[in-house]
């Protein structure tokens, strides 16, 4: 594995790291494909779990789930390590890098020196690849950045040992082995069916299409909230979870569309191209929804009914895609 590292720009950190590590380990795979077979797509609305006083809104599965699902579906051997102190974590990382390995890390966003200050928040499940080091720090390929970056030893230690929800505890991972034969078609079929089932038939009211309905009802109730700033902050929070945090646009829906069009080629099924463009339209609808939320945030006159209506359109068109995919009997 002592080849030169080639940085590639991706939309999302975790799928980007998985794609980059796999590609360098000798199995070239796109980010969208890693995201798709890793069952990255979902929707969850958890009003009980609060992030700075706002309910958790997620368009993708919990951190590390893409890595673990891809590992399972492709039969890889991934070694994940955690550490009790920064010192041994740093020494171990230096050892691995000196051995020519490319290492995936889980870090906090807040302490990464190369992040623009406006975008630093306490989010502990960011992923990046360390591919080398120099005298002062590590050479980093952060998939959501256009070019490779660097971080000093101390700064990276802090980011790796940030505390709080999803505390990384220095977590790092390497791909140890790739099986000789990989049945990609089988992995794709399984992944698509699983995502459709989760979105359509979940028993939990806060997940999948039911979760979107729950968020819609919460939006309709916004005008009754006692704090008048709350509605604006709430809608802004949704936009950030959908667009800012590296989703490839439209809350990962556009990335999933890219995945479906790749699947059409792998499986040789033209219908998947149709599904891909349908999913593309879903992504566009989510962006229209974000746009209408943003108008409300700016303090313009707005009606929650109109915003809820836009959200309902997203939900309905998403349902059509999943029913179409189920109908293909992959």
């Amino acid at each position: 594995m002592s080849k030169a590292f080639v940085h590639s720009h991706a939309a999302h950190c975790e799928s980007g790291v998985v794609s980059s590590l796999l590609t360098h380990a000798g199995y070239p795979i796109s980010e969208a494909m890693a995201f798709g077979i890793g069952n990255g797509l979902t929707f969850a609305y958890l009003p009980i779990v609060k992030i700075d006083g706002m309910p958790l809104v997620a368009y993708r599965m919990p951190p590390k789930s893409i890595l673990k699902t891809v590992e399972k579906r492709l039969g890889l051997e991934v070694k994940i390590k955690k550490y009790s102190n920064p010192q041994s974590a740093r020494e171990d990382l230096i050892k691995m890098v000196d051995a020519g390995k490319f290492v995936g890390l889980q870090t906090s966003v807040f302490y990464l020196p190369y992040f623009p200050p406006e975008m630093r928040f306490h989010f502990n499940a960011h992923n990046l690849v360390v591919y080398g080091k120099n005298d002062t720090g590590f050479l980093i390929s952060d998939p959501v950045f256009e070019h490779p970056v660097e971080a000093e030893f101390n700064a990276l230690d802090k980011a790796r040992f940030a505390r709080g929800v999803f505390a990384p505890k220095g977590a790092c991972y390497t791909i140890e082995k790739i099986p000789e034969r990989i049945d990609l078609a089988k992995a794709i079929k399984k992944a698509i069916n699983r995502t459709c089932n989760m979105m359509l038939y979940t028993p939990f009211p806060w997940v999948g299409l039911r979760g979107i309905g729950m968020m819609k009802r919460a939006i309709l109730k916004l005008p009754t909230h006692p704090h008048k700033r709350y509605a604006s902050l709430y809608l802004g929070h949704i936009i950030r979870m959908q667009e800012e945090i590296g989703t490839g646009g439209g809350g990962f829906r556009l990335m999933y569309a890219a995945f479906l069009s790749e699947c059409a080629e792998v499986l040789g099924r033209e219908e998947l191209k149709t599904a891909s463009s349908m999913m593309g339209e879903v992504g566009d609808k989510w962006r229209v929804f974000a746009l209408s939320c943003s108008k409300a945030c700016k303090g313009n006159e707005y009606s929650v009914e109109e915003i809820a209506q836009k959200l309902q359109e997203c939900r309905d068109s998403e349902e059509r895609v999943y029913r179409f995919l189920k109908g293909l009997k992959l």
Binding site: H9, E118, M119, R163, G164, I239, G246, L254, S276, S294
Partner: protein
């Protein structure tokens, strides 16, 4: 979204960087497209940043009037809520609420002060005397 529809709003917080979006390229295939930012996203992020800055200024005003301990100023300056600070420091939320009172804060043991200093990455002198926010 078609490739030429990908927003190119040159938003300031990217500092010239660009972000990857998925858009339809020429042959109808989705591909990664670089975007210099979307004003909608910029507005939402700046709103979240502004909210922390507003809370910080308010905490500073109350601190200078003696109604609040300097803890609140540092908490919001580091973009934390009481819940986040609690997770990062192992203090219970109700303890942090108490520490926000000036009288309680004054009596804190050096050990607890050191813990807060570690979380905020500052010295004790800085913790007790935060600079005025911009």
């Amino acid at each position: 979204m078609k490739r030429d529809e990908a927003p190119q709003d040159n938003i300031a917080m990217y500092h010239g960087g660009r972000k990857a979006l998925y858009a339809v390229a020429d042959e109808g295939k989705f591909e990664i497209t670089q975007s210099s930012g979307w004003s909608v996203e910029e507005m939402a992020t700046l709103q979240a940043v502004d909210e922390f800055e507003r809370l910080e200024r308010e905490a500073y005003r109350e601190f200078s009037e003696g109604k609040n301990s300097p803890l609140g100023v540092w908490m919001y300056r580091r973009r934390m809520s009481i819940a986040t600070l609690s997770q990062c420091s192992d203090f219970w939320q109700w303890s942090i609420n108490r520490h926000l009172k000036p009288d309680v804060f004054k009596r804190l043991s050096p050990k607890k002060i050191a813990l807060y200093c570690d979380v905020f990455d500052i010295t004790a002198a800085e913790l007790f005397n935060p600079k005025e926010p911009k």
